[in-house]
Structure formats: C-alpha cells, structure tokens
C-alpha cells in the first residue's frame, strides 16, 4: 500500500512549485505517509460499476447571451500586482539565460 518517500514528497513539491527546505521535507514527509495510509482504505470500497460523482448536484451547462458586460478596468486589474510597467503585469524572466 502507499508508501510515500522523502524523495517522492520532494518531487511532488517540485511539481507543485513549492521550494521545500530539508527541514520541511523531514517534517512533512512522515505526516503525509500517515495521512495516505489512513485514506488508502478507500481503494477497495466501490465496485467497478459505480459511476463517479464529480459534483454534488447534477449540472447542466449554462449559457448566457453573448453581450458585452462591464468588467474590471486596467487600473483595477493591476491594482494588486507585485510589479507593473506600462500598464502591464511585470514578471521575472521566463526563459533561461541560454535561450
């Protein structure tokens, strides 16, 4: 059954874009193993023919008239930005040095 190693937690943190320190990995990995063990029981509960439920109540797609509605102004949209330049979000470099 599930056994989640420190390396695996490190890899998952990587996928989730969180820099975990060694101390955090030491702390979180065993806790995650305990949680996973306790929820693993679920894998044998439902028979193959049970349909999955993704949502509490049945949903049907909702359409609206294709008409313009007021939205945020550029100033409002940028109001919480960590950095702004020329009415745009300013972000750190996206490509590597070699690119």
């Amino acid at each position: 059954m599930p056994d989640i190693s420190r390396d695996e937690v490190s890899h998952l943190a990587d996928l989730a874009r969180i820099d975990l320190s060694d101390a955090e990995l030491d702390h979180l990995a065993p806790q995650l193993a305990v949680i996973l063990e306790s929820i693993a029981s679920i894998s044998a509960v439902a028979a193959d023919d049970v349909p999955p439920t993704s949502h509490a109540l049945p949903l049907t797609n909702v359409f609206r008239e294709d008409v313009a509605r007021p939205g945020l102004t550029a100033e409002q949209a940028l109001a919480g930005a960590p950095a702004v330049e020329e009415q745009r979000f300013m972000v750190p470099r996206i490509l590597g040095e070699e690119a």
Binding site: R17, I39, A40, A56, L57, V62, P82, P92
Partner: protein, 507 residues
Amino acid sequence: MSDLTRRTAAELVDALAAGETTSVEVTQASLDRIAEVDGAVHAFLHVDAEGALAAARAADERRASGTSASALDGVPIAVKDVLATEGLPTTCGSRILEGWVPPYDATVVARLRAAGLPILGKTNMDEFAMGSSTEHSAYGPTHNPWDLDRIPGGSGGGSAAAVAAFEAPLAIGTDTGGSIRQPGAVTGTVGVKPTYGGVSRYGLVALANSLDQAGPVTRTVLDAALLHEIIGGHDPLDSTSIDQPLPALVEAARQGATGDVKGLRVGVVKELTGEGYQAGVQQRFDEAVQLLVEAGAEVVEVSCPTFVHALATYYLILPAEASSNLAKFDAMRYGLRVLPEGVEAPSAEEVMRATRDRGFGDEVKRRIILGTYALSSGYYDAYYGQAQKVRTLISRDFAAAFEQADVLVSPTAPTTAFKLGEKLDDPLAMYLNDLATIPANLAGVPGISVPSGLADEDGLPAGVQVLAPALADDRVYRVGAALETLLTDRWGGSLLAKAPALEGASA
C-alpha cells in the same frame, strides 16, 4: 447601550423599527465591543469602523424617509475573510494574500451591501479554510469565548467567535467539510450550510469548488433564516448556482419555533453516533432526540454504511481540488512575490517556488502535495477516481435514508472544544473533527448546527446537526428552530447566556 450587543438580529430589527435605537448606535455598540474584547478573542483580521458607520448612517436615513433596503437593513455583520470585499483587505488567513484588496465584491457581499447591512470587518480563519481550529491562520488563532485557551473550531472560527462573543449579531461563514457547523457546535452558536448551489460562490476564494458553500453564522435559528434569505438565490455569475427560488426559510423557522414536530420523521444516523463521540456530547444529543420524541416526532435509526469512508473520500477530493485552485497563487498578478535568496536575476519559476514556500503555511503545503499526489498519473484511478465513486455511494446512502426520514440528525462534532495546540501537529487527529459534517458536503445536502447543551465533563458547548435533502433547506430551519425552542425552554434561556463574561482586553 452595551445590551444592544446581546440582542438577536430579529430583536434589533424590531428595536430599529420602533425607533428605540438607530443603526449607528447598534453598529457603534458592536465596534465598541470589538475594541473591548477582540484583543483576547482575535475573531477579526480587519475592522472597518468607518465603512460600517457610513453604511449605518445610510440605513438610518432610509428609515427616516420611510424606506428599507431589506428585512435586516441596518443590522451589522462580520464577513469571513475568504469572501472578496471591494476596498477591504481579503487575506484568506494567508501570508500569500497579505494586504490584498480585491477590486470587486463577492455576490454574497454585494447582496449584504445592497440589503443595507453594515460590514464590521473580516473574520479570522484557517489558511484558505484548511483546518478545524483557526490555528492554521497565518495571523494567529482565534480564541473560544467560552474558554480562551481553547479552539473556536474552524475553519470559520473567527465568524463563530465574533457572534458568540457578542462582537457581531450576524456573520457569514463558508462550509467545505463543516467549517460553519463545527465552529457553531463548539462555540454554542447556530450555523447553516445551505444546499450546494443555494448561495453564490462568485467571489468566494475557492478551496474545493464542488464542496464549498457560504452560509449564515448567528445566535438563533430565526436570525440565520433572515440572513439566508438575503444572501441566497440564483446568481448568473456562478455557473453552479441553483436557478430556482429559495424555499420560505423564515416562515419555516417561525413555524418550527412553536416546538410542534408532530408527524415529523427523524432519522438518527447509526454511523454518526456512539464510538468516537465524547460522552457528554453524545448525552446532550440523545436528550435532544428525546425532546423531539416528546414533542411528537417519530424517531427511526437509519444506516448509511458508506459514511465510514466519507473522511477518506473527502481527504482525496478536497486536496485534489485545492491543489489545482491554489495554483493561481503564482506571484505574478496579485499577492506576495518573494525573490529567492542568493539568486541573481531569478526566473519566474524560481520566484514562484520561493513565494509559495514563504506564502503558504504547513497545512496548505500538506494538502497541495497530497492533491498533487492524488492527481498524478498512476494514482489517479486508485485514489481520486475511487473517491469519486465512493461519493456516489454516499449520495445513495442519503437517498435511501431520506426515504425513511424527513431529516437526519447527529452530533455536529465528536468532541467539545479542545485546547489550542493540542492537535496542531497531528493532522489526522485534526481531520477527525469533521467526521459528522463531511457527508453533507460530499452529497451537497443542507445542514444546520444548533446548540445541544454543555457537556458534563467539561462544561463546554456541544451541537446537534440536522440534515435534509437537497433543496429542502426549509426543513433544517423548521427542525433546528423546534430543537432551539425545546432546549431553551428547558434551560430557561439561551445557552450563550451561560458563557463566562469576557474581561475587557486591557492591552
């Protein structure tokens, strides 16, 4: 003046209508109470005295000119810090959103403003609503007004404590796995999780989209119904909003308050009682059920065998949805941006990693990693896919139970409030607090928690939960109000009257 803070919202409405007081006086009384006790309780992350008083003045002007914006016009309210409030900070209890001021209102907030309720401020919560104690707030825990060394429940402990400490007559909470009902139980207050889709989620910072639902946090069932009728109903901005009128909730609460439950079929859920429930909590619950019997209800035991898997199901579905939702906190468009130390010209990805490490607390990291794991290829079918199937089985259990009973009942939380720090580093023990509340979220059905009394062993409040089929929110109000009447008649007053007086915070 100070007694204004002890009044229920319905009483305040009457006092305002009779000209006995004004919205400015009522709002100022709440603000004074906050100034007096919130240093010790810490229910609020942000107080907006100026905005609240301006809204109160507007309400008084309407009243003077003979108009009214709603049934609760002029009654102040506190809002959980997970709902976007234009012009007011919205942090979700997280460092990653410290100081963020949204450029728009959540629909719930817009409806409160349109209905004339002055917004006193934003209440404390576990970070991104992940927790059952508010101890996961990045801004420090809220303290239970019954015993300041104990947790007020979570994630909406701030809203429940604000109402229990008489800092606000009304509050808004959100309930993903019990975050309205469990804090209600451990603080001796009332909390309602509406039917999924009954209250708009637009502007509610999502924890788990398929489970989240905002609802009333109050001191009485009638107050909750009054508030629910204002915030509920269809919203075109939320694609999961139910496009149907709400049932008559206030009418149901008034009818229930007569205490007459003749012919009502009440199902006691076998899997949500007994083992794992504190003796005093179980005892108060059993007595509440007995009162319903004496008042004419027919009680049957129902079995929902899949409920024993609800907790595991929830802790797969919730982290999966949460890890995906929280991906938007990427340090680019809003919120915190942290530059990694010792890196020259860091890349966007490096900034993202450093920011998410610094900005998220332990519990959020745990759940993001768990969700990332559950959604990984190779594990998806075994975990997330399986959890979705069990979710179907839980809904089927509810459907079968509601063929035998009009409402289902259980203790709301398995224990009374525990000590701050007691379960902080034991995630599994913390998760068990939501054992009885989680099934309703997975199936989308409505639920209420009302105080059931004080547990003998510790003198702390416990709650009884009433669940009804989807869209039948009126039933939880009817039965909740009946229980409230039967119990308060027995106690000779509200449970909160027994709470120790809070010393004014001198600091």
